[in-house]
């Protein structure tokens, strides 16, 4: 139970890091959420996604709920389909690409603003670069003694 609690705290800290120091940078929150969704139960994955989305939504209150729905859905979706994949190093990249696409497309349709392609490109490249490192890092912090 403590691990799940620290997962929420960890997501929040990543949100602070992402929002302040790296506004145009890797999506730390998404990367961590994907890894947690691979290891936690569906309910926890959904809750973590909604929590992460809620934090992100607070920075743009006019679209409150969009990120909650998107990240909650991503967390739940990954927790559901994770067993369909063989556990190799590419699945994380695939989930990240899907997550990024979902996030950006939904935001585009909701916000009705044209996407800033430069920002999107930088964010996508940095996020995808860090994606293979996300799982070892989160596992080392939270699931060192887990047999999963």
């Amino acid at each position: 139970m403590m691990r799940q609690f620290f997962a929420f705290v960890f997501i929040y800290l990543l949100f602070v890091l992402q929002s302040t120091l790296f506004p145009v940078g890797p999506q730390f929150v998404l990367l961590a959420l994907i890894v947690f969704a691979l290891y936690e139960t569906r309910l926890i994955a959904t809750l973590l996604g909604i929590w992460a989305g809620f934090c992100l939504d607070l920075t743009t209150p006019t679209t409150l709920g969009v990120q909650m729905l998107t990240l909650g859905g991503i967390g739940y979706g990954i927790a559901v389909v994770r067993n369909l994949f063989y556990r190799n190093r590419w699945h994380n990249l695939l989930f990240t690409i899907t997550g990024l696409l979902l996030q950006q497309l939904l935001y585009y349709f909701v916000d009705k603003n044209p996407l800033n392609l430069n920002t999107l490109l930088i964010t996508a490249i940095l996020t995808l670069t860090l994606a293979p490192l996300a799982e070892p890092a989160v596992v080392a912090l939270f699931y060192r003694h887990s047999k999963k």
Binding site: Y12, V16, S19, T20, L21, T41, R42, L43, A45, T46, L47, I50, G53, F54, C55, D57, L58, T59, P61, T62, T63, L64, G65, V66, M68, L69, G72, G73, Y76, V80, V81, N83, L84, F85, Y86, V110
Partner: protein
């Protein structure tokens, strides 16, 4: 490949419920969202505000540091320039080899009409000041003494309509005579129509006339309008000094008596200074 888990467990149902709640939050009216969000934002975003404030503070400190560094450099330069004026060796460009001496003096009174044409300084004949002594500041020429008492002197500034000073273009060395106009600028007289005066040229004293040593900065050329019918080329000069900001001046003391008779008609009879 392992089969997918069943997706109708109690965890799934709660997850769907939570996602539906998220959807409901998204579908809330715009005004309601705006009302709800600040309550959570106050708590959750406080670290963001702290970090942002820290970054702003660091940026401000960096800017201040750069500004203070520039200021320190400027002050060091000014300090060096003032030291240069105070301990000047006898042979330099500004002070020729005739034992000129600078004394520092404070401005204690100004003319009550414009505050710019005359002012009184705290050194007089006892300090070696005489009628005609040049008055300067590090930025450039201020004026000349037109009346002296033992402890005070009256200075005619470069903005007084009767003021004249022989000048030259520091770049081309062409000479002219400067006098003030009505717009706090100086006009150069007797400039040949073919003379090369360009905007931005520095005008310095030429040393002619025996009052101002050669090479003292006066101003910068700001306008050279074309007047085909004029006999001479009009050249407008903006002085380097801001007369309203001057609090202290330097008076150039010469070891020889200045020719004061030619200044007699410049001395305004209505102005008196207390003994």
């Amino acid at each position: 490949m392992s089969p997918p888990d069943r997706i109708n467990s109690w965890q799934d149902r709660i997850s769907w419920g939570l996602l539906l709640i998220s959807l409901a939050v998204y579908l809330l009216p715009h005004n309601t969202k705006i009302k709800i969000a600040p309550h959570f934002a106050t708590v959750l975003l406080s670290p963001l505000r702290g970090i942002t404030a820290l970054r702003t503070t660091i940026a401000t400190i960096n800017n201040d540091n750069a500004r203070l560094a520039r200021l320190a450099a400027e002050l060091a330069l000014e300090n060096a320039r003032l030291k240069h004026y105070l301990n000047l060796p006898e042979s330099t460009i500004a002070i020729p080899a005739n034992s000129l001496r600078l004394i520092r003096s404070r401005v204690i009174a100004r003319d009550i009409t414009t505050l710019k044409r005359f002012f009184t300084i705290t050194c007089g004949a006892n300090d070696g000041v005489q009628i005609g002594s040049a008055v300067i500041v590090p930025e450039g020429v201020v004026g000349r003494v037109i009346m002296v008492t033992p402890h005070q002197a009256l200075v005619q500034t470069i903005f007084e309509p009767d003021f004249r000073v022989a000048v030259m273009n520091a770049r081309t060395r062409e000479i002219a005579l400067a006098h003030p106009d009505q717009k706090q600028k100086l006009i150069l007289d007797y400039v040949n129509k073919n003379a090369d005066f360009r905007i931005g040229d520095t005008i310095v004293t030429s040393g002619l006339g025996g009052i101002f040593p050669k090479g003292l900065r006066l101003g910068v050329v700001v306008e050279t309008p074309e007047q085909p019918d004029a006999l001479f080329k009009p050249v407008y000069v903006k002085p380097f000094i801001n007369i309203m900001l001057i609090e202290q001046v330097f008076v150039i003391i010469t070891p020889f008596p200045l020719q004061d008779n030619w200044l007699d008609n410049l001395q305004p009879s209505e102005i008196t200074i207390p003994e």
